[in-house]
């Protein structure tokens, strides 16, 4: 179903629209595979939309393979996923039966793969679309029809892949399930018997734990994006300090520089009895070649310094106060750009800029300062669509000596009742260039003594060239 169809079926307010992001979906599937390791130690994320669990020897723990499959489907439904589950002795047969078999699920007993997959379409063998099309041209639609053909004639016509996939489904060729590996939790804990209120002792403990954490990250050749420091107080209260960094790091010095000011501001109460550090967002970081002679002005040094400054700013001011500019494809000036927290959009990724000719042309005519809220003003013009003669705001009237426009900007059709705007670039007698607009709902009808039409309510000032 396409988006327009969905919008037509469901009222606007009840439809949640999210852009399709395959990379994020892939990460989510990997996380789901880690979550599914409660049923089996070997779980593989079968991109883009499946999971493969090697449940050899696991069924009896859940009351049998059927109970395991039911449990899996029930838990997935609770998470909001609609899943089709199939159990088979080969990954190939399970893959085909889950996608093309009965929706209620199926359990294929060992040795019954041939008859289970026979009625399924040839797509269930995980063969490429071109081979499926080629088979379709000669009327081969099901696996049963395919198996009826002599094996020796298949590779010459359709390649080696088809035989390999058939053998994998039937168990005549081994196929391993390469499971996702749950990352080893990177955490360290320190008990302080009796508790302490001495800041120096707590800082020493944190530094010790931090060194331990760094060693663990070095062993994993990884870095962290977030560090959670938890302090257990004597009065059973827990204080949690979360430090986020703009790119994965395992620099103890940098992490300590971010942690230290937060610890100094912490309320120790009657004392701290335990400290725990836990690394979150652990990812592998690229190997860096160690060099003896470091150039102080090198690009890497500058990049690292900028990142550390950003982390320090985020640590003190908050993630929402350190941003970068992104642009949207919108003609509405206030919607065309937005500031996104920098930690949510790493600097390494290029800014999402709209590359259209239209926007580039528009940019030439946009002011340097855009007011957050358009300010109402009074305008006098000789005729409704004529040039603006003067403007007044809060009793301050100014003559207009140059006017360029109108430039009509329509409302976005998916937003209800957004009026059109006619924008003008005007220069007042003091030399200021202002960006004013008239909402195209209607024009005022009043005339002053000189015969000029006065339009007092529909005009706004939206920006200025400063």
């Amino acid at each position: 179903m396409d988006l327009a169809h969905a919008r037509a079926l469901i009222p606007h307010a009840g439809l949640l629209i999210e852009p399709y992001r395959p990379a994020r979906d892939a990460i989510a599937l990997e996380q789901l595979a880690v979550w599914a390791m409660r049923w089996s130690p070997v779980v593989a994320a079968d991109q883009p939309d499946g999971m493969m669990l090697d449940i050899s020897g696991c069924g009896h723990l859940f009351g049998g393979d059927k109970a395991l499959a039911i449990s899996l489907r029930k838990r997935l439904r609770k998470l909001g996923f609609t899943a089709r589950v199939a159990v088979a002795s080969t990954p190939g047969a399970a893959w085909g039966a889950a996608r093309f078999g009965p929706a209620a699920g199926i359990i294929i007993r060992p040795g019954r793969e041939r008859e289970a997959i026979a009625p399924l379409p040839v797509e269930s063998l995980r063969i490429s679309g071109t081979v499926v099309d080629a088979l379709g041209e000669v009327g081969i639609r099901t696996v049963e029809q395919l198996m009826a053909i002599a094996r020796s004639s298949l590779p010459a016509r359709y390649g080696q892949e088809i035989l390999r996939r058939l053998d994998e489904a039937l168990g005549q060729s081994h196929e391993a399930v390469l499971g996702v590996q749950e990352a080893e939790a990177v955490q360290a804990h320190l008990e302080l018997p009796g508790g302490t209120t001495q800041l120096e002792a707590i800082e020493l403990g944190v530094r010790h734990l931090l060194e331990e954490l760094i060693r663990m990250l070095e062993r994993q050749e990884s870095g962290l994006r977030r560090l959670d420091a938890t302090f257990q107080r004597l009065d059973s209260a827990q204080i949690c300090i979360i430090v986020q960094v703009s790119r994965p790091t395992r620099s103890g010095k940098h992490l300590w520089s971010l942690l230290r000011p937060r610890i100094e501001r912490m309320n120790l109460g009657y004392g701290v009895t335990g400290i725990a550090l836990c690394a979150a967002g652990v990812v592998r970081i690229a190997h860096a070649q160690a060099t003896l002679l470091v150039e102080p002005e090198s690009a890497c040094e500058h990049e690292a310094a900028i990142d550390q400054t950003i982390d320090a700013l985020v640590g003190r001011l908050g993630a929402n106060r350190v941003c970068r500019l992104l642009m949207r494809e919108s003609h509405r000036p206030e919607s065309a750009a937005w500031a996104a927290p920098l930690l949510d959009c790493p600097r390494a990724a290029p800014a999402r800029l709209v590359q259209t000719q239209t926007l580039a042309r528009e940019a030439c005519q946009r002011p340097s300062v855009l007011h957050t809220q358009p300010q109402p003003l009074s305008v006098i013009s000789l005729s409704p669509d004529g040039p603006v003669m003067s403007i007044a705001q809060a009793g301050d009237a100014r003559r207009i000596i140059a006017s360029i426009g109108p430039e009509r900007i329509g409302g976005e059709w998916w937003r209800a009742r957004e009026p059109q705007r006619d924008y003008f670039r005007v220069q007042d007698e003091r030399g200021r260039w202002l960006w004013i607009f008239r909402e195209a709902r209607g024009l005022s009808k009043s005339c002053d003594a000189a015969g000029a039409r006065s339009d007092s309510s529909e005009w706004f000032i939206h920006g200025e060239w400063a």
Binding site: L292, V322, L325, C364, Q365, S368, V369
Partner: protein, 237 residues
């Protein structure tokens, strides 16, 4: 670990850190704005709102200076500190490298703002720090001048027009006022109120008229044809 320790010891012994960070400058109307210096820009009162509270920093000019500064280094960032100083992105659309390398900071109060400017200036990769300097005092600007001098970043401070009489340690001070433009390009008059490397300026500070080139996103001197000399105009008449 032993190898990395040995490398750090060797690095310390060799001590390759240069005594002087290479500097450059950005030229504006024939005046060199030294990198590693603080330069103050007095904006104008906004067309709407209270004249003391609502003032506009010279964003076109600051964006152009950021573009020129960023062109000097391959890896660099520009910090825009203070929400008033956040540029409207379409202003920088012609200079996407500036947009991509911009970091926007919104400190909640004056002390955080001063701290943020100082931290940004002490970052080796920060080629320009453009900040709202409303309310900064002489000691504050001295501190920023020291930070900029030590790390070689260009510090551009925007101040409201009402703070012209405040003392400051800035290398240069400029006043920007809108000028009537006979063309469709916005114009401003730039008055150089102070330059530390020049003798004391007279009562009549040197001034230039500059205009905004929409198409290229640049600040430039107006073309001579567009602004003929007064004598020449009279002759033509």
């Amino acid at each position: 670990m032993a190898l990395s320790n040995a490398i750090s010891v060797l690095r310390e012994r060799i001590s390759l850190t240069p005594a002087k960070i290479p500097r450059g400058s950005v030229e504006l109307a024939g005046v060199q704005l030294n990198m590693g210096g603080v330069h103050e820009w007095f904006g104008s009162a906004a067309a709407v709102g209270h004249p003391d509270r609502d003032w506009l920093p010279p964003m076109c000019l600051l964006a152009d200076l950021a573009r020129r500064a960023i062109a000097q280094r391959a890896v660099s960032s520009v910090f825009w500190i203070g929400r008033r100083l956040w540029p409207y992105p379409l202003l920088l659309d012609q200079h996407r490298q500036v947009l991509a390398r911009s970091v926007l900071v919104d400190p909640p109060d004056n002390s955080s703002r001063l701290w943020a400017i100082d931290v940004a200036l002490r970052t080796p990769g920060a080629v320009a720090v453009i900040a709202d300097a409303q309310g900064l005092t002489l000691p504050h600007t001295r501190r920023l001048q020291l930070a900029a001098g030590a790390f070689g970043g260009l510090c551009l401070l925007a101040r409201p027009p009402g703070e012209l009489d405040r003392l400051s340690a800035a290398s240069t001070r400029w006043r920007i006022t809108p000028a009537v433009s006979p063309t469709i390009r916005p114009r401003w008059t730039l008055a150089l109120l102070r330059h530390k490397d020049r003798p004391a300026l007279t009562d009549e500070p040197p001034s230039w008229t500059m205009e905004w080139n929409h198409a290229q996103g640049l600040i430039c001197l107006p073309a001579p044809l567009a602004l003929p000399a007064r004598g020449a105009t009279a002759q033509a008449r």
